[in-house]
């Protein structure tokens, strides 16, 4: 009998701790499949603090657990001393866009030859649903219980748009996983972000719009709908920077 589906080699057998309907599992699979396709030997991942804090248990390669927000700095250190390894950082929105904003901006500006998977679900999941730097205007969180207000909390940060203004990055794209079509597109983007690193092209980041059914107070189906209808309009999908095209 022909095998038509199998678990990526890059994932361990450990069941994940993610809530039902959470996008992290899908983001892990996208990352793992992309790396499997590279056919390389040396891979080191950096796990964040946040819901993906246990990512080091799920990715089947050497991993380092970073302090909160510092994953791009840790990944930089690794990549600089082991340039022939594929180095990736996996981060959430609180980790990357709040406490770790300095690290991600500077890693991008330096054009570090690393790949960053940025999972944006617009909320702090692990700590129980607090406002994130990407929480949208009007969106409720436990530290903005009547909804994010511009007067009190300012505006959400559009990370892909912002980083694409820098000269350093090679490739920045925002994708979503709310249906099969978009998952396929997301896979292509993640594949490219890793391929760029193999080719030595510099900093690539894929922002994945993600669900958080638990802290959004929705079921998984409603959550996917929310991503499609609300998040995708606030955070438009697409390629924000691609220097490989300029070269071509």
């Amino acid at each position: 009998m022909a095998k038509i589906f199998e678990k990526p080699k890059m994932l361990t057998d450990k069941p994940t701790h993610y809530c039902p309907g959470c996008t992290h599992g899908q983001a892990h699979i996208l990352t793992a499949r992309a790396i499997d396709k590279l056919n390389v030997k040396k891979i080191i991942g950096v796990a964040p603090v946040g819901c993906a804090v246990f990512a080091y248990e799920y990715f089947n390669c050497d991993m380092q657990e970073a302090a909160h927000g510092r994953a791009p700095a840790v990944a930089t250190g690794i990549k600089r001393v082991i340039p022939d390894a594929i180095v990736f950082a996996y981060q959430g929105d609180g980790d990357l866009a709040s406490i770790g904003m300095a690290e991600i901006v500077h890693a991008a500006a330096r054009g570090e030859n690393i790949t960053v998977i940025f999972v944006n679900n617009a909320i702090y999941g692990m700590t129980g649903g607090q406002m994130a730097p990407t929480t949208m205007i009007g969106q409720k969180a436990t530290t903005c219980q009547s909804g994010r207000s511009v007067a009190l909390n300012g505006y959400p940060i559009h990370v892909s748009e912002m980083l694409s203004q820098l000269q350093g990055p090679c490739y920045i794209e925002r994708v979503s996983c709310h249906d099969v079509k978009h998952i396929r597109q997301a896979q292509k983007a993640v594949d490219k972000a890793f391929q760029n690193q193999v080719e030595g092209r510099g900093f690539s980041m894929i922002e994945i719009l993600a669900t958080c059914p638990t802290n959004w107070g929705m079921n998984p189906i409603e959550s996917n709908k929310y991503v499609e209808e609300v998040m995708c309009s606030v955070y438009p999908l697409g390629v924000y920077k691609d220097t490989t095209k300029e070269e071509a």
């Binding site: 927000g69 609180g94 709040s98 406490i99 702090y124 129980g128």
Partner: protein
């Protein structure tokens, strides 16, 4: 007097801070203290105060520095890894003699550690913590009511001594719900801004500078001495402790915070089985009640001290310094987020130590 309420330690501290005059809170999410910023986020606007969820702990403590330097009653809260990040800012605050309150709901470490209760931040709380020679006034409350009582007056102490005050709890104290009576709202509306605050009102004349940079060695040395003179006053005036059945005790158990409650139940069990045990509970862990330990150590009936902690042994060092070799000082602890039971302590004592 208000009706008793059932409150979580974290929520009770937040409300007591507001009633004690806190009007500015800056924090960043970390378990197990999230109920404090969550509570502050809706409560602060109700009392005309400020709440900001900062982008990091580093940022939060620096926001406290700014707000407090201009005279506001400002505070932050966090848990161990977050407190490590704040230590730089706390050092600046101590050096600039700015009053503020920091709550630490300790979790187990080192590193990212775990989220279960621990007391492994004793050193980084009572010995300074950040760079340079400085201390904080540090309280280790053992119940939700004591959290409320201490928090309610913490800003008054911080302003009296112009120094950071820390409330050293643990995950258990933050999460436990107990019945509490809340004190009335303090009114500071007619209290003038302190005479050192850089509140922006002295344009071109007599300006005030909040600063910890002293390029001249003599000036910095004078500051170091000034700070330590304040710590001497703390030692004299602010030491707090509780004793339980120490009058005729042969074995003095010592513990602070929630562990002291477990130790108290162990003392009762030991007494029932004929062992003359007592409990000395420091309520301030800096200043440390060293004199009281020294006096107990001089008593002929006291055979030994046992420091019980959720750590690998941190407060025990201060107990040894205070007892100064007069009696043996032993240590019993659990760590990693595990918590001992009263029975564990009894078993340790009955077996005669290690």
């Amino acid at each position: 007097m208000e009706e008793k309420k059932l409150l979580k330690g974290n929520e009770a501290i937040a409300e007591a801070a507001i009633r004690g005059g806190c009007r500015a809170f800056f924090g960043y999410p970390i378990t197990p203290q999230n109920e404090i910023p969550e509570y502050m986020s809706f409560r602060m606007p109700e009392v005309g105060g400020v709440f900001i969820q900062s982008e990091s702990e580093v940022s939060a403590i620096n926001m406290v520095y700014g707000a407090a330097g201009s005279g506001a009653r400002a505070m932050t809260s966090s848990s161990s890894p977050g407190i490590s990040l704040k230590q730089e800012g706390i050092s600046y605050i101590a050096g600039a003699e700015v009053p503020c309150v920091i709550v630490n709901m300790v979790r187990s470490g080192p590193g990212l550690g775990g989220i279960q209760p621990a007391q492994c931040d004793y050193f980084q709380s009572v010995k300074g913590g950040g760079h340079g020679d400085y201390k904080m006034l540090v309280y280790g409350p053992n119940s939700v009511q004591e959290c409320v009582d201490i928090m309610y007056n913490a800003f008054d102490k911080a302003f009296e001594y112009r120094m950071p005050v820390m409330i050293l709890g643990d995950g258990m104290l933050g999460q436990i719900m107990e019945a509490v009576t809340l004190p009335p709202m303090k009114d500071f509306s007619n209290v003038p801004n302190p005479d050192w605050a850089a509140d922006g009102t002295r344009y071109g004349n007599d300006r005030r500078v909040i600063n910890s940079l002293y390029i001249q060695p003599d000036e910095l040395e004078a500051l170091n001495h000034k700070l330590f003179a304040k710590y001497d006053v703390l030692q004299e005036k602010e030491c707090m402790y509780e004793e339980y059945l120490c009058e005729d005790a042969e074995i003095v158990i010592t513990a602070y915070g929630t562990v002291a409650r477990i130790a108290k139940s162990a003392v009762d069990m030991l007494r029932e089985s004929g062992v003359k045990a007592g409990l000395l509970r420091p309520i301030t862990v800096f200043p440390f009640p060293s004199d009281r330990f020294a006096r107990l150590a001089s008593r002929s009936e006291v055979k030994k001290f046992v420091s019980v902690e959720l750590s690998m042994g941190q407060m025990v060092e201060d107990v040894r310094l205070a007892v100064n070799g007069k009696k043996p000082v032993e240590f019993f602890g659990r760590c990693g987020g595990n918590v001992m039971t009263g029975e564990d302590i009894v078993e340790y004592i009955i077996k005669g130590g290690k």
